[in-house]
Amino acid sequence: MISRRILMMTAGAFAFTPSLALAQDAPAPFDNPGDVTVALVRYLSTGDFFQSYLAGVEAQAAALGVNLRVFDSRQDAALQADMVDQAIALGVDGIIIQHGLTESMQDAAQRAVDAGIKVVAFDVNVENAAVPQIEQSDRDLARLALEQAITDNGEAFMAGYVYVPGIAPLDRRDETWREFKARYEGINEVSQFGTLDNPIANSVANQARAVFSANPGIEVVFAPYNEFAKGVMIAAQEAGVADNINIYSADISTADIAMMREPNSPWAATAATNPAVVGEVSVRALALLLAGEDPGEQVVVPPTLITRDMLNDGNITNMEELGEKIPAFLHADVALADWIALPSR
């Protein structure tokens, strides 16, 4: 199920210099962090994003010195609910629910809260005021990419748009796209296409090529998901129109970096959140909750804009280098406290 990769689209971070916090004056229970156990109950786990997210959770948990238990339901909603109950039975102090279905997680989260366990949820709405939501801002993501498109191409251009309705993050991005179209009347959307047929890039490439031959004047393609962008880029190269087109997208991976940096790449910019940062924020928000502090009902991890030029100027070839060269990508200035140690870089 590829749509999952979409759920994870990311946000960025603002420049931040890690402050060296000291743990010795940490509030209870973090005065003795070895006794604290937190559980990560996952719905989705396969793919680059989730690996990276897990790495972030692990790194932040290690920095805090707490024990981490990982439950992986592998896209089984019922199993995920059982796993929350298991975590309750194990007597963990806090639970991070990572994705899942509102229907199955709502009751499970309530049971955990009733058991006195602190819960935070990432990218799943459990409809519980006691459970802070960790979110990436899809609207910000789309906004950053589209603002760059306006900067690069002016306020009037012929556009293609890749969209598959019914996928929540894409729907939220679509709202921003509509706002932009309303604000800039010069944007002329001549074609909307998209598919989640697997492999997505291959299927989107087939569609995009038909679109390019039907609409030779397209200058900008808004493809707010990196698999879409990849497909559009393949089609643009195959159709020989790569030089005339700029692609704006969301999300980023090592492979995407390589494609954006190809000579004459039409992929101009993408907006992204570092999934590892989201993982770290999830743990920090839970830690705040455990210490009796309030992280807020919503903890939004902001996205970063990454352009082709930034990658070329910094000679960035993979995600690690992206983190090194663009510090904003490496850290999000949310859910912080003096007593929370940040993962070492």
């Binding site: 697997n198 291959n202 031959s213």
Partner: protein
Amino acid sequence: MSVQTRLIDLAIRFGFLLLMAGLLVFFSISAPGFLSPHSAVFVFQSVAITGILALGVTATLVVGGFDLSIGAVATSALMLSAYVMVVWELSAGVAIALCLLMGAGVGLVNGLLIVKARVPDLLATLGMMFLLIGLQRIPTEGRSISTGMTLPDGTVARGTFSELFLMLGRHRIDFFIERLIPLSVIFLLVVALLVWVFLEFTRHGRLMYAIGSNAQAAQLAGVKVERYKIAAYMISGTLASFGGVLLAARLGRGDVASGTNLLLDAVAAALIGFAVLGAGKPNAFGTAIGALFVGVLLQGMTMMNAPYYTQDFIKGAVLVVALVFTFAFTARGSRGA
């Protein structure tokens, strides 16, 4: 033969080709840009990979079997070729050879499961499909493979897709117009021709059809049924892995994917092929036409801005009509798929 039965006969034989001609005319009129050499090549290129997979599955259909693992074999080849070049930093030739070997090997295992272990074909290849979907993720812990990726052990992969390999999916040959025909289209045509000649004109193809029609009788006529069945799955696996190589060459990276849509599109093409020329049985020519038919439909409809779900709907409708053609109208309708 009365005029009426002759008309019905003509409709069965040429109905599908007429339908396709009608579609071409319709799209040419209503979708600007559809009628151009580039557009025609695009259609071929968009079906090149599923077409090659479909030709493989045709071989298994001919012996009365079925191969559900082709999609997973293709995506496994996609991952394998990327792994060989990016992680092991070996050459394109090694990558292609290993992929084809892998495909043939999977076909061999499928065949042995079906022939020796007597697992029903659908179940054996379904199991193989799941196995491969899982297996292709194990070496990278589910990550996609691309240059610069971090491996599970923390090292960074420095290999690249070689130019030669990428050419398979991207190079285009001059044909009246400069850089017109992609290599993948050439491969599709060559594979289609080879499979067609093999199935229709060699004695091996003949015996495979005999097995599909009545395996017991073929066995008693001295046909080495088990060997041909295994061979059919090996053809299917090899062609599927070749499709995966072309996919890797087009994408330029190793994407984790189940390949389910590749499987479904390939099977649809092969089944539509039953109806072409009123064959009423799996056949390579029909499969190629079936794949093109789907390609023309999707190309035309995308150019007319039809959303993806209407395309699935139309694809399904075409398949149903083709199956009705095959099973209700042709004389061989009594034969199972």
